[in-house]
Amino acid sequence: MADTFKIVGKSFPRHESIAKVTGQAQYTDDLEIPGMVYGRILRSPYAHATVRQIDKSEAGKVPGVLGILLPQDVPNRPFNCSGNPPSPMLIKDERVLTDHPLYVGDRIAAVAALTKEACAEALERMIVKYQPLPVVLEIEEALREGTPLIHPELFSSNIFKKLESSQGDVERGFAESDYIFEDEFNTPAVQHVAMEPVSCICHYMEDDQLTVWSTSQTPFQERRVLAELLDLPENKVRVVKPIMGGGFGGRQQIHNQHVGAFLSRLVRRPVKIINTREEEMYASVVRHGSVCWLKVGVRKDGRLAAFHAKVYLNAGAYCTHTPIVLGAQSRKFQYRIPHYRYEGYGVYTNGPIGGAMRGYGNPQLTFAREVMMDRIAKKLGIDPLQFRVMNHLGAGETIPCHTFPLRSCAITECVEMGERIRNEIERREASLHKKAKVSEAWGVAFACHTSGPSNNEGMSSSLILVNDDGTVNLLVGSADIGQGCETTLSQIAAQELGIDLKDITVTSGDTFSTPYDTGTFASSQIYVAGNAVCLAAQDLKEKLCVALAACYHTELEMVRHEHDHFMIETGQDKKISLSFKEGVAKVMFGAKGRILAGFSSFKAEESPLPFSVCWAKVAVDKRTRTFSVLHIIQVVDVGTAVNPEVVKGQVEGGISMGLGYALMEQIEMDQRAQKPSSSDLLHYKVPTALDMPEIHVAMARMSYEPTGPFGAKSVGELPVVAVAPAIVNALSIATGEKINFLPLSKVFMPKGRSQIKKESQ
């Protein structure tokens, strides 16, 4: 289908790539605002404590220090920092600065100074007396009777949110099952490790106008939260997103911007705050650690009968996204199941804050589910691929707890493509291991995700301004956080308008100059923002048609857009064909001249599911328990791939994140120190290039999502999800062991494929 389009479906280079690789791209830390100073936050080194005393007098004497904020200097009003549309589910339990820190990294005070060195020295000289308090770091601990409550002022339990959704009657389903499988799975908290740390510059101006440049995935949500905290109307708050070095969900909440804004208001100068890597690791957000209990009933013919999941998410000290994560997690079951029940629990602890991270609850539950699916297939003696395919939903069927049916699903094509790749690998590659004690095996897992928020709250708008030479400026509120959506949205606009890509300049993520967008999360860009761009382009074409009709004194019905041209029938059998630029030139100036712009408002009423199938091949030495992931194959159904190279990049990056999740990444809690020990990128292990397996990516060609722009669905988060269970399934087959946890480095030793190659030479 993509072959029929001129612009969509083609791998145009991303428009910002040259600027990035030549160092010209301006990230937040590259920006210098006149009069700018620096800010640093004093953070609690304790996971739980009260601040008995703060003495800032010596800190204030440090040369260059301009101002210091303590908890009493900022509003004590609780808020929720997440970049989600407002919702009563999002508990307001966090404060800008606190004298009762609830996690390591909680904000106690802040300083603004002329130099970063002065900031550091001032923090050093702040005398803070803490009273350490009992610490609760793990879910099981938090749920135990008698454990201290994290928020006794709000809840009588450390469970602050319970979400249930169901269809059918699971007890009846289990009664009808021939086999029942039950087990518990554990996944760790992990960190995004975006290359660029959380960064912001906040400028509170004399006329009570606040401008914030920040690494934000959700400029409009950030504007709303900051306006509320500073008692400003939103028209006085401007949030601008510069080029970003990654987000992955880690920028879908406010981290330092409020502190920066209050500091700027205090010192009346722009204040730049850039996180250190250590602050990133445990003072921003992480993926929720989880405990998942699953019970699955199946008939002897292999049909799934009942599915019951109880999931506990470690939210850390504050609610942030957790209730929305639970909801999103509940809506990702892609198999036919008459009886389904999901119970999700948000649990407070004194651990790092569980926030938004690529996959948003899906990786945790899908890991448990797909490992369980393999065990069921094995018990029934059915090939694990066939077992999944026979139970998989198809177009026209509905995911449990969704409100709309699937309109596109190319899972069978994904399986066929992936199997071809796998067979080719097996054919050309002799075993790398000649030692008898090394076992090799393939594992597989399926996944789905969403295109836009699965609660259908996604909204976007787009404005297309026409220049007098017929080029256009595309304005979108959606933030490109490094995934390439400015380019793909431009492709959509160019395709719809019938113009060249080079004739579009895109501006995004500025609340003063770009129209509203809910935010860059839930894989929204292609589907939600893309539909908005499509509609804006259609609006523009209609307006140009109206203008041309007036210009040629003909009826509107006589003007239509086809094959990238405006066809005007002027009567007397005369037909005129004008390109977009020619049409603009015709109507813009003169007696009946008019200014052209296209606008749209799009509210997503569906969130179509993209799908993926992932294979992993591992080799394991059972005696030393070292193992290598040799190959990862991932085939995705994203409908029309608007820019195949961008899609491929997303899948490769997702595989890398999924690999880390499976093999080695975890925010480790040290019980002796009562805090995370994963403080930097030596303690916290992210796979390096030498740890990567061979990656094989493919896209289903026959899928077309009718509600998506040119048939497209999203890909942003999908590729992370199936990787870990595919690897674990392979390892289970190779070792014969049941594996219920991540990361695998808890009991196995990962070994990069590059090492295997060296040893076998």
């Binding site: 030393t624 930097d680 916290y684």
Partner: protein
């Protein structure tokens, strides 16, 4: 900003000048590659008053073949070792172990002597000042506790050098300059005093590696969570030099990252030496002894990124190397 405390920096161009600073000034640190020292200064773990940069001392660089063996200057980088033809000719195993250290960028700066004389590491010690603020200072920081093993009276941090096991297996020696003359001491002695915190003002000028005997078989293995960057979870060097003129053979097995100092599996090698005549029949016994000796002598502690269980399983890597040795013995390549 490297350090909140100010320090002086000098870059002398002779060994004598550098030694003079060491002997006359207080709190002097030598800066070689800086790949360990600079992070330590940033974390507030080391707080020099004077930093003496050895980078301008030309006589500390270079690799030369001497009668006694290959001499490697103290300021030679690991990156240079990897690609040096003399290293590859005489002591290829050293180049292989150097290649496994960290990453190319770090190897371009890090020196061999710096790698050998690195500090022992621990998850409670190698943290920022901010992180350590909430726990009591440990032995390494002048405190009175080991956070790994609270009842211990000494620091239990492990030693992680990748090149040390190889150099020990090759009977390497250390050349030092005391202001009047150069003297050569066994690497093992130097390491033990360094790792036990015996403060002795020494100026190491290079490493002397005796030429391994003809037909020497040697292997190095490093296990780490990641294939680059990481310190080892276990490393080991095994060396076998066949008998020559009625002397030998020489068998050495050294294992790192398992205790506060490199472990020599002496009981295993002694067993091999006393059963030389039928060694090829005793492969399984030798492997079992090596694993058992390693397990007995190891004093593992908690590390980030790997569980104790996974680390304990790494000990079987010794079996893998010994398996290769026996294959070589049995194929009569080592006679």
């Amino acid at each position: 900003m490297i350090s909140k405390n100010s320090f002086k920096y000098v870059a002398p161009d002779s060994i004598e000048a550098a030694l003079e600073y060491l002997l006359t000034e207080k709190n002097v640190f030598f800066l070689a590659g800086g790949t360990e020292l600079l992070p330590q200064i940033k974390h507030g773990l080391m707080q020099p008053s004077l930093l003496v940069d050895l980078g301008k001392i030309g006589s500390l660089k270079g690799m030369t073949t001497r009668e006694e063996g290959l001499f490697i200057g103290a300021m030679e980088t690991l990156g240079n070792l990897v690609k040096n033809s003399q290293v590859n000719r005489y002591v290829a195993l050293l180049g292989q172990s150097a290649l496994r250290v960290a990453s190319p960028q770090i190897r371009n700066r890090a020196t061999l002597v710096g790698n050998i004389l690195q500090e022992r590491r621990c998850l409670y010690f190698n943290q920022s000042e901010y992180w350590r603020q909430s726990i009591a200072p440990c032995f390494k920081l002048g405190g009175e506790v080991c956070h790994q093993i609270p009842r211990s009276r000494t620091c239990c941090a492990l030693y992680y050098s990748d090149t040390a096991p190889v150099l020990l297996a090759l009977d390497a020696r250390v050349e030092q300059y005391d202001g009047r003359k150069f003297k050569v001491t066994s690497l093992q002695d130097i390491l033990l005093s360094h790792l036990h915190g015996e403060v002795e003002k020494r100026f190491v000028t290079g490493i002397l590696i005796p030429y391994p005997g003809q037909g020497t078989w040697a292997r190095f293995i490093k296990q780490s969570v990641r294939a680059a960057i990481d310190f080892p979870s276990l490393n080991a060097a095994v060396r076998y030099t066949p008998p020559v003129n009625g002397r030998g053979p020489v068998v050495r097995i050294f294992v790192g990252a398992s205790s506060p100092e490199p472990l020599e599996l002496k009981e295993t090698t002694d067993f091999m030496m006393t059963h030389l005549s039928r060694l090829s029949e005793l492969e399984e016994e030798v492997k079992a002894r090596a694993v058992k000796e390693l397990k007995t002598k190891s004093s593992l502690v908690r590390e980030t990124g790997i569980s104790l269980n996974a680390k304990k399983s790494s000990c079987y890597l010794i079996s893998n190397i010994l398996e290769e040795l026996f294959m070589a013995l049995n194929s009569e390549r080592l006679v």
